[in-house]
Symmetry: C2
Subunit: 209 residues, 2 copies
Amino acid sequence: MERSSTTPGGSARREATRQKLYEAAVTLIAEQGFSATTVDEIAERAGVAKGTVYYNFASKSVLFEELLRHGVGLLTASLREAAERTAGEGGGKVDALDAMVRAGLVFIDRYPAFTQLYVAELWRTNRAWQSTLMVVRQQAVAVVEGVLREGVANGEFSEEIDVPLTAAALVGMVLVAALDWKSFQPERSLDDVHSALSRLLQGRVSGRR
Amino acid sequence: MERSSTTPGGSARREATRQKLYEAAVTLIAEQGFSATTVDEIAERAGVAKGTVYYNFASKSVLFEELLRHGVGLLTASLREAAERTAGEGGGKVDALDAMVRAGLVFIDRYPAFTQLYVAELWRTNRAWQSTLMVVRQQAVAVVEGVLREGVANGEFSEEIDVPLTAAALVGMVLVAALDWKSFQPERSLDDVHSALSRLLQGRVSGRR
DNA sequence: ATTTTTGAACTGACTGGTCAGTACAGAAAC
DNA sequence: GTTTCTGTACTGACCAGTCAGTTCAAAAAT
């Protein structure tokens, strides 16, 4: 009863090809955008023939959609893991948020191209993969919202906070700070960036000391 | 000494045509992206002939670059105005930041398509207008950094804050929160969104009451 | 053990359509 | 009479998607 470790339907060889295509596509699309990236380029960078792309994916958009799902899946898992870990360690919700900020930074550090591409496509309208994006966005944001809600419930956070909006703002804070870090001062360490964001998060900006 | 209010070299008629083209291009590119938007579409939406586009702009990319400059110019002016106004009213730097958050929200409220497009293009690499974007980004972020630095100098803000990173994070917070507002809960009022962000900015999230 | 067959995976030349940019004569606007 | 715009037609490059053919490892037959 041998079974492939990943997708049930796919042979090991096929799965390897798909992975190569994801990797090629993610960097190219992050750099140039979806429409400006040609299937020929993706195939060439992945080291396969153009036909192979269409053997593995129904179309260019389908390749892109599956790429999105793949990537956000990784992020969501990582955020959830961070939140649960601090809970297990008996930390409060502030610690959970902080751990999630760090998990976000680690993710962006490891997959900067994916993050770039995600941000660039998220708020577009009238596109084929719009619904995929919405689903996938909600998965990630929901983890943050969950922690905020629990914090409100147990009194750690003010009851007056607007959960969805605050969650969006937090995600945005991390996202933009991290992209700027990678784009404009990549020499800085993750710890460095993390502590700057922690400070902002905990309101230790205004007020001396 | 009559003088055109905008570009010195352009007649009033020409300027009006350019404006129509900007407006057509900004919505189309926000929706579809630069590459997926055709010059024919832009011309049609603006109600002019295709030849007119090329009479007024050297190429599609040039049109886009000038659009970027135009839009960020508006934003920068608005942020600067907000900061100076609070200074005139004797407010502290916290008030200045708060006023700039509001100015940012007002801008995004008025020009959502431009904001969308800007975010989508900002972190791309290897594109023709990359340098234009950098210049233009720095103009806007510099205003925020200036206020932060002044606040550190006069003791209102902690000396430990990382000015460029904090500025980026603040911009990101407003940007993402506002885009989410427009995309996913457009019925909410600007005041509503503003107060949620103020609360976050001033650290009134954790700690009850 | 050797040969034959099978089929999933892959290849790359080709096609039909799309689109940026050009050309230009005549009409409007100023 | 000069500037700006129109309308139509055209070109050449580019590109998503197709498909007939190739590869090759493993299964089946001998």
